[in-house]
Symmetry: C2
């Protein structure tokens, strides 16, 4: 279960927020707010395509049976969610661990030739499959990567053999990849029109790589569905209401940066997913909390100083996993040279919990309001809950902020410039003007 | 070589900064500024202990010859620098690549029992060594990890065998680990009194793990020494002056967040190292730019929207590597379904460079001033230069900001609370008061 604790914020009167939250909730559920063409994620945990879901599960089993490596080609929302869930549930060292599951690498999210060369070396002569994820099929980074890896996989397995190892997740009807699927006979899955990239982790976009990495995606969906039932009910007991209210109250009070903190080192990419979800949904019209992330306790020894004593424009949200997944007990040591005997008999989770408590109070005392998002357990069901919680809270939060949380008009600016500079047909005039400024 | 380009900032008049920069420079070099007990890093690239350096190289060779894995136990400045250099030079996939160098894992920087369990599984029955890095020897996270792994290594190799595989980097005379070295005969290296953790990457703290991972540390020091010669000369041609001036000018103009961006996915931990260096040096007295990081082009599809159109309190600094380390040429494709044929004949580094140019102009046009730190080449020498550049610029920048860039008083707050909550002798009264607030 997900529980939001606002007791470490300056007092907020829920009454003052009731009408705004009700209006945001109604707009979201009724599809009457900004960006309502992109609400396909809202009821997805119940409304998903069961036949496609079963095909995803079968594809994942096939990949597990015939591949040592799955290469996932995608950028932004087409990779962050899958990477986040795999690392959070299967461990940040997933690709190094001793299991029979395929290693999963994400490519096509940068333009580094050295990165591709490293991956070629790692794959070596082992068996691999590709999942290419792109709505249009023409986004530069994944399209370039697919050109490169399609050639490699066809060289290795022949065109027909490769076609059985290429899985495409794309638009249901249009786009470069859809045409290719029809022609080459690739197994394909759908990115629904009404689900934007950053909300797509519970579609085929996230589910195929996540399933290939051994996660029970049916359980993930059940977790999301549980949270959906809870969060579709309006009211102050709704954790999404609480979180949306807490962060908007702090924004209006002058906070400018929200730091998402977690004590679990496997959470790092969940935080990256969160940063896209909130940054891209709210960072527009000159508004929005700047999303940042820290991994504790490591970053208490790097960013901790700034958080404790830097500019007082920070809000901190801690995701706390309540039930530990592993434990080690500190033993008594006869010599006690490290002075740790006062911890003897305590477990690492005990110590971690006290580090959390101590940090919470220290940061609050230092002028950094804290919210705590408690998840009772780090399991597949709980991760499904957490994902849906952050998604729906993001929709509400964006409406409270007064923006369209479902568009991303600013992402085009660099692309347009880049195309112009690269001489893409149709952009020639702009290219000259830009070059003159460099 | 390192070159700082301020042409994409609002105009700054160097004349206006001359006297402040001169004063900061003199205070730093003359040791007359705040925190001057901690300037050991300033002349380190020339003034280091040659005998110890040779011992570090020999220790690294021994580890390479007898270990499949090196476990580095340390937190904050005792791990970030080494991890940053290893991943930047040897690749983010270093531990997965096919080479004969020991894998290097960092532990003791969190309190996760699951993380330790993952590492145990990865090591399996292979040979390993330990480098424990801690000035006092009593910092909770590394001390706990060393208790755990010392027991494991002694179980595997016996006490005498383990003693030949434990390398200690600690205070020259005091502390828990120093006593243990004397007693057990561990090979040991010194954390100089005058070098704080975040400035310690070019001491044994960083150098032993870096050397074990196959990096030529003599070349790294030569790079740093080159940059030192350049940066110890006062004047506006000094790149450290330029960077310190640029960021302070933007801070005074109301910018609140500095985003460090790089197009090289191997740079991620260099950015983490940077965040500690600047955040911990400047985040005090309610001051300082909040340091954040992005990895491009990936994060143009996540944080890009916020950067382009969110609150206009951002400053962006791009580290640009000019000479590519690898290349792939885009080929003509007869069918051109992905529409990429306009890129045919271009290389990935070409495209990446135009993505950089296009993004630079888009962000500047969107109201985000940009600085560009150009490094001509990503090689060991260049990384040594970059490290020293960021260190000395940080000292100057902190003096311009008016803080002591070499202390970290805020890091104690959470520790004190944690100790109190854990019942550490001497902290009992505070513990009760804190528990009452939870």
């Amino acid at each position: 279960m997900i529980n939001v604790d606002l007791s470490k914020l300056p007092e907020i009167s829920p009454k003052d927020w009731q009408s705004e939250l009700s209006a945001a909730h109604e707009a979201l559920l009724g599809g009457t707010g900004k960006g309502s063409d992109f609400l396909g994620w809202l009821r997805l945990p119940e409304a998903y395509d069961r036949d496609e879901f079963a095909r995803i599960q079968r594809a994942a089993e096939k990949i597990q049976s015939d591949s040592d490596v799955l290469l996932v080609i995608g950028i932004g929302g087409s990779y962050l969610g899958a990477r986040a869930v795999i690392e959070f549930l299967q461990g940040t060292f997933y690709n190094l661990r001793r299991h029979k599951l395929p290693e999963v690498y994400f490519v096509g999210n940068n333009l580094s030739a050295a990165y591709m060369a490293q991956l070629s070396e790692i794959i070596g002569d082992r068996n691999f499959s590709i999942n290419v994820i792109s709505k249009s099929g023409t986004t530069t980074e994944p399209a370039v990567a697919f050109r490169v890896w399609k050639q490699k996989i066809e060289e290795k397995y022949g065109k027909a053999g490769a076609a059985e190892r290429i899985y495409v997740t794309t638009d249901k009807a249009r786009g470069a990849l859809r045409g290719l699927c029809d022609k080459e006979g690739y197994e394909s899955f759908v990115i629904p029109d009404s689900v934007g990239g950053r909300f797509s982790v519970l579609t085929a976009v996230g589910l195929l790589p996540i399933a290939a990495a051994g996660v029970d995606i049916a359980e993930l969906m059940r977790g999301a569905a549980d949270m959906m039932k809870l969060c579709l009910s309006p009211g102050q007991q709704n954790p999404a209401w609480q979180y949306a209210m807490g962060r908007n109250a702090m924004y209006r009070a002058g906070k400018r940066v929200e730091i998402l903190a977690c004590y679990d080192p496997d959470f790092v990419f969940m935080a990256e997913w969160f940063k896209q979800l909130y940054g891209e949904s709210e960072g527009k019209e000159g508004k929005g909390l700047f999303p940042a992330a820290v991994s504790y306790t490591a970053d208490l020894h790097s960013m901790g100083q700034y958080i404790q004593e830097g500019r007082r424009e920070l809000l901190e949200t801690v995701v706390l996993v309540e039930e530990p997944t592993a434990s080690i007990t500190i033993k008594q040591d006869a010599e006690n040279v490290d002075g740790l005997n006062f911890l003897a008999g305590k477990t690492l989770p005990d110590i971690e919990y006290q580090a959390f408590c101590g940090t919470l109070l220290a940061h609050v005392d230092g002028g950094v309001p804290n919210m705590v998002v408690r998840m009772s357990k780090k399991d597949t069901h709980g991760v499904g809950q957490l994902i849906y919680f952050f998604e729906i809270a993001c929709g509400l939060s964006g409406y409270l902020l007064g923006v369209n949380p479902f568009d991303q008009p600013g992402v085009e600016a660099y692309k347009t410039n880049m195309f112009a500079l690269l001489g893409k047909p149709g952009f020639e005039a702009q290219g000259e003007a830009l070059r003159a400024r460099l």
